[in-house]
Amino acid sequence: MQTHSHVDTTSLRIRTLGAIGVVYGDIGTSPLYALREALAQTSAEGISRAEILGVLSLALWALIIVVSVKYVAFLTRMDNNGEGGVLSLMALARRATGGTWVIVTLLGASGAALFYGDAIITPALSVLSAVEGLRTIPGVGGMTQPVILGITLAILLGLFAFQARGTAGVAALFGPVCLLWFAVLAASGLWQIAQHPAILAAFNPLQAVDFLLSHGAVGLFVLGAVFLTVTGAEALIADMGHFGRQPIQLGWLVLVWPALTLNYLGQGALALGALDAASAQGHTLANADWFFLMVPDAWRAPLVLIATLATIIASQAVITGAYSLTHQAIALGLLPRMDLRQTSAQQIGQIYMPGVNWLLLFGVVVLVFGFRDSSSMAAAYGIAVTGTMVVTTCLAYVIAWRHWRWQPIWAAVLIAPFLALDLFFFGANILRVTEGGWVPLVVAGLMGLVMVAWLRGRRATQERTSALGVDMRDIARALATRPPVRIEGTAVFLTQNLDIAPAALLHNLKHNKALHRTSILLRIETRPRPWVEPADRLVLERIDDNFVRAHLRYGYMDKVDVPSDLARSEGLLAGPGGTSFFVGRSAIRFATKPYLPRWVTVLYTFLHRNAADPTAYFAIPPNRVVELGSQIEL
C-alpha cells in the first residue's frame, strides 16, 4: 500500500536482480545488432583487420565513457528526491530556476517527445533482430522475410495485448531471465576470445582514434552505428526511483558491463577468425550476423529463444517506461489527462494506459512493416536516443549550475566534454536522417506539437477564466448578507483559481437556487518534486462559515486521491449530509478575435475534448460527481 519509503526496502541483492531485469534489458540486447551494424558501414570492399579492431575499440570505449563515466558515475547522482529521468530532471531544473525559464520546459518536452520515438523503435528493432536469428539456425529453411515479420508481429501483438493484465504476475521472472541472458553473453564471448585472443588489442583506444582518422566520412557513419551499443543507457537514470542508485551502479559494474564487453570482444574475435579463414581462401570478408554465429550450430535454437525472451523483457521495460513518462508528463501539465488504470492493488506504480499502449503498438507495427529488417531500422534508432541524451546533458548543466550552485564556468568545463560527445554522436546519426532517421524526428515533432498546443491552450483558458470571473470574496460577502437556501452536506468545487468564484458554483446557485452548508473551493496543483508527504498536501483557508478554500499539492509521481487527502483534515468531510463534487466542463468555441493561433485552438480543442475524465484521475467516485457545463472562447 502507500508506504512512503518509495524505494524498496528489500535487500540489495534482490533489488539488484530486479534492476537487472528492468533497467538493463534495452542496453543488454544491443549486442544482437550493434556490432553488425557498425561493421556494415565499412563492409563495402570487405572488412579489414584494422577495421574490426577499430570498430570494436570504439564500441568498448563508448561503453566506458558514455555509460560508465557519464551515466553511472555522474548522472545517477543527479536526482530529484531519488527520481531520475528526463522529466524528473526537468522538474528539478524548473524548481532550481524558479519555473521561469521557458528553455527548461522546452528541453523537457523535447526529451519526452524523443522518448516516444525511442519507445516505438526499441520493441520493433530488438524483437525483430532476435527473430532474425532464426535464419542462422542450420536446417531450418523457409525463413523468408514475411515469415520473420509474421513471427515478430505475433510476438509484439501478444506483448502489447498482455499489457492490460499487468506485469506484476510475471515480473519476478524478468531478473532471472536477464541474469541468464547476461551469463550467456559473457560465456559465448569468452569462448570466442579464447580462440582468437588477438582481439584484446581492441582495448587500446589508439585503435579507435586511428580508425576515425583514417576513415573520414565513413568513420562518422560507423560512429553513428557504434552508438547503438549504448542505447538504453537513459534507462539507468529513468528507473532510479524504483530501485535506488546503488543497485543500478552495482548491476552495471559487476554484471552488465563485463558481460557486454566480453560479448563484443567475442563477436570481434569471431570476425577476426572469419577474416583469417576468408583471406586464407583469398576472399574478402563479408559482414554477417556475428552474434548468433558465436555459438555452435546445435546451440543456435536455444540462443534465439533466450534472445527473444530478453528482447521481450527489454521491450516491456520500454513500454512501462512510456507509461510512467506519460503519467509524469500529464502531472507536469505537458500532456492532456489520459485513461490510467492500476493493474495491481498490491504494488503502486503498476499502471496501464490504454491510449499510450495502442498508439505505441500502432507505431511499432508501422515501423516493422515500413523498415522490414533490423538493419534499416537501426539507422532510425540512433537519432531518438542521441537526441534524448543531448537534452539530458543540457538539463544536467542547468541543474549543476542552479541547483548544485556550481560556478557556471566550472559546470561548463565538466559538462562540455559530455555535451561535445553527445553532439558528436548526434551529428553522426543526423547523417542517416534520410535512411529512416526522420521517423523518430517526425514522431517527436508530432508529440512536441501536441505538448505545445496543450501548454498554450491551457494557459490561455486559465487567463480567460480569470479575466471573466467574479471575485470569490465578493460572492461570499453577498451571500452572507442575503443567504440562499442552505442544504445539509458538503460541496467540493474543482477550480484552477481560488480567487474567483468557480463557474460550477455560480451555475448551481443560478439554477438550483441553493447552496450546501459547506462549500469547498478546491485547487489541485502538481509541484516540481516527485513526492509530497500526505500530511503536507492540504492547505486550508476559511473565507467565512460556509466557504473554505482548499489547496492540494501533489508530487508528479504521487497517486492523486482527492477524497482521502481532503478527509485527512479534521472533520472536513465528516459532517452530516454527505459530499458532492462539482466539476465544470468547459466547451471551447472560436472567438471572433482569436486569442491563440487557430491551429493551436483546433488542436487544443481536440485534446481537451478527448482528455480523460478528470474525476477518475482524481479518484473521485463517479456517483458523487455533478458536471456543469460552460463555454470558453479562445
Binding site: 500500500m1 502507500q2 539456425i137 542450420p138 536446417g139 531450418v140 529453411g141 523457409g142 504476475g169 550450430d297 546445435a298 546451440w299 535454437a301 536455444p302 492493488a345 498490491q346 452536506g489 500526505p534 486521491d561 477524497p563 482521502s564 481532503l566 478527509a567 485527512r568 483534515s569 479534521e570 472533520g571 472536513l572 468531510l573 465528516a574 459532517g575 452530516p576 449530509g577 454527505g578 459530499t579 479518484a619 467516485p621 456517483n623 458523487r624
Partner: protein, 481 residues
C-alpha cells in the same frame, strides 16, 4: 500459483523419465510412439499446474525429443523443418490443455468460493435468527469478526463524538459510508489509504444508517473485491438484525411505559379511596366545631381542600380507567352555581361575584360532574385572584357559555393549551400551590360531557375560563326537571 515452481520441477522430472524410457526403448517403440509419449508429461503438468508448468514441460519435452531421439541423436541439431512440427504440436497441446484445465480449475474455484460464501451467509443468518436480536447481533459481529478481522459498529452519533481509534481520514471514510451508502476505506476505491474498511449496514442511504468498520488485515494483505462483496452481503444481514434489535428495543420501551402507567393508576385509585373515608369524618367534626369555635375555621378550610383534592384524584383515576360515564340531565346553571357557591369558605380579601341572568336556558350535563368542574374552576380562580372572582353566563352560538374570570396575573397564550395537562403549573404562579390536578379534571370531565373548555384573557386582566355547554333542545322543553 505458489506451487508453480514445485509443479515445474515435477513436470521436468516426468519429462526426464519419459526421455530415459524412450531413449532406451526407441528400437522397440519406434519414433512416432515415442513422440506421443512426450505428450503425457505435458498433459499432466498443464492440467495440474496451468500454463507455465505445461509450457516448460512442452519445451523440455521438445528439447529432450530433439536431443535423445531425433537423428542425429545426442545433439540439438535440427535437420528438417518437419522436426519443428513435433515441437509446435507439443507446445500447442500444452497451451490448449492448460487453458482448458485452468478454466476448469477457475470455475471450480469460483463455485467453491460461491458455495463457501453462501454457506457463510447462511450460518450468519442462522446465528442472527435465534434468540433476542441484540444478543444475536453481538454473536453475528463476533462471527464476522472472527473471519474478517476486528469489527465494530459505528453510527452517526459515534461520528460526532469522534473516536481515538479512528484518525480523521477513517472518520471521514465512515461518514462517507454512512451518508452515501458506499463501501469505503481500505481495499475499496474510495479513500483507499484508510486503515479500516467501512461497510454500510443498509444498501441505500438512510437517516439511521450504520457502518461496520473492519480493521485492515494484520498480515498486510489487501482485501479483494470478492471478499469485499461478501462482507457487504454479511453486513446487510447484520443490518437486518440491527433493525430488528431496534424494533425490539422500541417495543420494550413502550411496554415499560405502560407498566409504569398502570402502577401509577392503581396507586392513585387506592390512595384516593383510603384517604376519603377518614377525611369525611374529620370534615364533619370540624364543621361542627367551627360552628362554635372560630379557631377551627382554618382547619375546616384545609380539610375541605384536602377533600376536593381527593375528589379530584378519584375523578382522575376514573378518567384514566375509562370508567367515567356521564349521564345527561337537564340542569339549570343557576341552581348548579348556587349549590357550588353555597357554604364555600371564602379566603380573606377576595370577593366572589355571580352575574347570572335568571332566564337562561337549561343545559345538558351530569349534575355531579358539572358541580365538580365548577368547584375546581372557582377554586382555581380564587387561588389566583387578587381581589375578586366573577362567574357569569351568556348564550352564544346556540350554546351556553359559563365564564369564570379572575383578576390575577392571567395565563400567557403559549401556556393556554398546556395548562390543562396533569400536574402542570405555569412557571411563576406557584404562589398558591394547588395539586396541579384540578384543571386536568375540568378538561377530562368536560370532554366526557361534550363540554368544551378554554382560556381567554379576562376583560379586566387575569384569566377567563370558558365552558361551552350544550343547551336543551327546544325552548318549550325548558321545564324544570
Amino acid at each position: 500459483m505458489t506451487r508453480t515452481p514445485a509443479l515445474m520441477i515435477e513436470a521436468l522430472l516426468a519429462v526426464a523419465a519419459v526421455a530415459w524410457l524412450t531413449a532406451t526403448l526407441l528400437p522397440v517403440l519406434g519414433l512416432a510412439s515415442c513422440a506421443l509419449l512426450f505428450l503425457l508429461p505435458v498433459l499432466l503438468a498443464a492440467t495440474r499446474g496451468g500454463v507455465w508448468p505445461g509450457l516448460s514441460a512442452a519445451l523440455a519435452g521438445a528439447a529432450a525429443y530433439n536431443f535423445f531421439l531425433l537423428e542425429p541423436r545426442y545433439s540439438f541439431r535440427v535437420h528438417e523443418l518437419d522436426n519443428l512440427i513435433s515441437v509446435i504440436v507439443l507446445g500447442l497441446v500444452a497451451v490448449v490443455t492448460s487453458r482448458l484445465a485452468t478454466r476448469l480449475m477457475r470455475r471450480e474455484a469460483e463455485a467453491n468460493e460461491r458455495a463457501h460464501a453462501s454457506e457463510e451467509a447462511a450460518t450468519l443468518a442462522n446465528l442472527l435468527a435465534g434468540g433476542p436480536p441484540d444478543e444475536a447481533l453481538g454473536r453475528g459481529l463476533g462471527f464476522v469478526g472472527a473471519r474478517y478481522g476486528d469489527v465494530r459498529l459505528l453510527d452517526e452519533s459515534d461520528l460526532t463524538r469522534g473516536d481515538a481509534a479512528f484518525p480523521s481520514l477513517d472518520l471521514s471514510a465512515a461518514a462517507w459510508a454512512i451518508h452515501n451508502g458506499d463501501i469505503t476505506g481500505h481495499g475499496t476505491e474510495t479513500m483507499t489509504p484508510a486503515e479500516w474498511t467501512f461497510v454500510p449496514l443498509a444498501a441505500r442511504s438512510r437517516a439511521d444508517n450504520a457502518v461496520a468498520a473492519f480493521a485492515r488485515p494484520a498480515d498486510g494483505r489487501i482485501r479483494t473485491p470478492a471478499e469485499l462483496g461478501q462482507m457487504r452481503q454479511l453486513c446487510l444481514l447484520l443490518g437486518q438484525c440491527r433493525d430488528r434489535a431496534c424494533l425490539e428495543a422500541e417495543r420494550r420501551e413502550r411496554e415499560m411505559v405502560d407498566a409504569r402507567d398502570r402502577l401509577r393508576r392503581t396507586l392513585l385509585a387506592s390512595l384516593a379511596h383510603d384517604f376519603r373515608t377518614p377525611l369525611t369524618v374529620i370534615g364533619g367534626r370540624l364543621e361542627l366545631l367551627a360552628a362554635h369555635n372560630p379557631e377551627a375555621h382554618d382547619a375546616l378550610l384545609a380539610a375541605r381542600r384536602l377533600d376536593r383534592t381527593m375528589t379530584d384524584l378519584i375523578g382522575l383515576a376514573r378518567i384514566e380507567d375509562g370508567s367515567l360515564h356521564a349521564c345527561r340531565d337537564s340542569l339549570d346553571v343557576v341552581d348548579v352555581l348556587a349549590a357550588v357557591c353555597e357554604g364555600w369558605p371564602m379566603p380573606a380579601g377576595i370577593a366572589l361575584h355571580r352575574a347570572i341572568a335568571p332566564d337562561l336556558p337549561f343545559v345538558m350535563a351530569d349534575p355531579v360532574l358539572l358541580h365538580h368542574v365548577m368547584t375546581n374552576l372557582i377554586d382555581n380562580a380564587l387561588r389566583h385572584a387578587k381581589t375578586c372572582v366573577t362567574v357569569s353566563a351568556a348564550q352564544r352560538e346556540g350554546r351556553l357559555w359559563l365564564m369564570v374570570d379572575d383578576d390575577g396575573p392571567g395565563v400567557p397564550p403559549a401556556d393556554r393549551q398546556r395548562i390543562f395537562e396533569r400536574f402542570r403549573q405555569i412557571k411563576g404562579s406557584d404562589r398558591k400551590a394547588g395539586s396541579g390536578l384540578g384543571l386536568a379534571i375540568v378538561k377530562g370531565f368536560a370532554e366526557a360531557m361534550d363540554i368544551t373548555v378554554w382560556i381567554e384573557a379576562a376583560p379586566h386582566g387575569g384569566a377567563r375560563f370558558v365552558l361551552s355547554l350544550p343547551v336543551c333542545g327546544a325552548p318549550e322543553d325548558g321545564e324544570p326537571a
